[in-house]
């Protein structure tokens, strides 16, 4: 039997007085791929932000265990070095901080946590080039400001590149497919698959079956109004694609 990597129990989260997550239960085991689907405004991005530790959202009750540890009190950076990765629905631009500098700082924090020496400049650049190839990213992007002037597709590739650098145990990909043309979608999805190992898990948040043609989920959940209202196998995604969500909501 494989280990549980993520265990969410009765999770409630709010912004101010507004409750957005209204009791989420979710369990992800090592090696599994889960898809979370649901109409806009259901709370999918909120769930991923809460998992990554964004303090805009207050967890009012429930528990989150990641890799056997309660992570609710952890900072975002602690969660990251523990092996949790969030691919942002809307990646942030950071003018003046180059991709190289950003990733070198991040990777070295991960290495420090693992008790490893920082990589020197040459080793780092070599690794960076290798990982950029996975998402067919132009090496010239490394010296540019993080996501600055990147197209929608380039930003999403950059997310997967970062994932490749940090090798997380659990990757949560929030609408990584939205706004991508067919080619970009293929590159991103192939990248995710190349990075998949038997002991790592993925949560794919998406509206579309087309991504799930590449990244085939073991389990599909429907999130609606802050709750998971339905869970089934991969055939559910196809059903939702054809019939919409109404039949599940009623």
């Amino acid at each position: 039997m494989s280990n549980t990597i993520l265990k969410i129990r009765g999770l409630h989260a709010s912004v101010g007085d507004k409750e957005i997550l209204k009791g989420i239960d979710l369990e992800v085991k090592e090696g599994e791929v889960h898809a979370i689907m649901g109409p806009n405004g259901s709370g999918k991005s909120t769930l991923s932000s809460v998992l990554a530790g964004r303090d805009t959202f207050e967890v009012t009750s429930g528990s989150i265990e990641f890799n056997g540890k309660d992570i609710i009190g952890m900072t975002p950076e602690q969660r990251s070095v523990e092996g949790l990765f969030l691919g942002f629905q809307y990646p942030i631009e950071i003018p003046g901080v180059t991709n190289v500098n950003f990733m070198r700082t991040a990777l070295n924090e991960h290495r420090k946590y693992k008790g490893l020496e920082p990589l020197n400049a040459a080793e780092f650049l070599k690794l960076m080039r290798q990982k950029m190839e996975i998402v067919e990213m132009n090496p010239s992007f490394s010296s540019r400001g993080v996501n600055v002037g990147f197209s929608g597709g380039e930003k999403k590739r950059n997310e997967i590149f970062q994932m490749a650098m940090l090798e997380p145990k659990l990757a949560i990909l929030d609408e990584t497919d939205s706004g991508l043309d067919v080619d970009a979608l293929r590159i991103v999805a192939t990248g995710v698959n190349k990075l998949k190992r038997p002991d790592t898990s993925t949560i794919v948040i998406t509206h579309y079956q087309r991504l799930l043609d590449y990244i085939v989920p073991d389990i599909v959940h429907i999130l609606y109004n802050g709750r998971i209202i339905h869970t089934a196998g991969k055939e559910l995604a196809l059903e939702v694609e054809q019939k919409g969500y109404d039949w599940l909501i009623k």
Binding site: G53, T75, S80, F88, E109, L166
Partner: protein, 336 residues
């Protein structure tokens, strides 16, 4: 940034004179000790002859020592003859913990066709006050570019008056000021366009922590008849705390037609979205905030043309923002 009070130690003493242990290559150094230029009884006068283009930069290092505490003033004058090219590095340091007040009156003349770049670095202790009065006159097709870096000091007041006197004169002033504790930094600029066809740019940026405060007061004056003037000014401040205050006073006085002038000022805080994004990749809050501050400072520091000097200023800025300045007590190897 963290509040600190540090003092630069002199590198070594040769015949009672100061010498930097690790001078930058390609620079000639000259010290002004307690207001007296070494080897000269009177005030400092530097002349670049017509067409002179030395490969070396001249570094003038003003230091205050415990021998003369309290207040003093001195004058310096730099004259760049026609078509000369010069680079100046002007530094001021305090070598003791006494309370110092230094007034420096600096006059710079840039003759026709001459091209001058100045990098000025102020790095004094928390109870020191430094008043810089700089008057610059730029002649026909002359170019004057200066970057003012106020790294540390209790009270810093830079008054910079520039007169663009002949057609085609160019002036670019860039400034970066870092202040924490109760430090305060003022940059008071007067940019006068006296004749047609001159061009000026100003970019001043500040990072303020704790209860520090800053003032940027920038006047662009376009005199009657100075048509085809281009003059731009920007002042941006990054406030790290609620207690930090930045005052920005842009002023335009335009008495001529057909001119292009603009000014902009912003006061901002660290960007939460950027911080979260960096932290979600494992970068600590402290490092993430430092990366943002360095990115903010970068647009000023990148204006320094000489690579080695630019890199030194970047590393000094980073050390300052990291609160690692006390290391410099042992050695001045990181000072310019």
């Amino acid at each position: 940034m963290s509040e600190q009070n540090y003092i630069y130690a002199p590198g070594s003493t040769i015949d009672g004179s100061f010498k930097c242990k690790v001078p930058m290559k390609g620079t000639r150094q000259l010290f002004i000790v307690d207001g007296k230029p070494q080897g000269s009884p009177s005030s400092l006068t530097v002349k670049y002859a017509q067409g002179e283009r030395p490969s070396e930069a001249l570094q003038v290092i003003g230091v205050r020592t415990s021998a003369v505490p309290g207040s003093l003033s001195f004058s310096t004058s730099y004259h760049f003859g026609q078509d000369s090219v010069g680079r100046l590095i002007l530094c001021s340091h305090t070598f003791a913990e006494d309370s110092f007040e230094t007034t420096e009156n600096c006059s710079i003349v840039v003759e026709k066709g001459a091209s001058v770049e100045v990098v000025l670095m102020q790095n004094e202790h928390n109870r020191a006050a430094h008043f810089l009065n700089m008057d610059v006159v730029v002649g026909e097709n002359g170019s004057f570019k200066a970057t003012f870096i106020s790294l540390n000091g209790g009270h810093i007041e830079n008054r910079i008056n520039v007169k663009l006197e002949r057609e085609g004169a160019y002036c670019e002033l860039n400034g970066l000021y870092l202040a924490d504790g109760t430090q305060n930094v003022s940059n008071i600029i007067k940019m006068e366009h006296l004749v047609p066809g001159c061009h000026s740019k100003q970019l001043f940026k500040g990072i303020l922590d704790n209860n520090a405060n800053s003032r940027f007061s920038g006047l662009i004056k376009v005199c009657p008849g100075a048509f085809k003037t281009e003059a731009y000014q920007e002042n941006h401040n990054l406030l790290l705390t609620k207690g930090a205050v930045a005052i920005s006073e842009p002023m335009l006085e335009i008495y001529a037609d057909d001119v292009k002038c603009s000014h902009g000022a912003t006061n901002g805080r660290l960007n939460e979205d950027e911080l979260f994004y960096m932290r979600s990749r494992g970068i600590s809050l402290k490092e993430a905030s430092l990366l943002q501050q360095m990115a903010f400072a970068y647009s000023v520091l990148e204006k320094i043309s000489t690579q080695e000097l630019r890199e030194r200023m970047m590393s000094l800025t980073e050390q300052r923002l990291r609160g690692e300045f006390s290391d410099c007590r042992k050695c001045c190897k990181n000072c310019c």
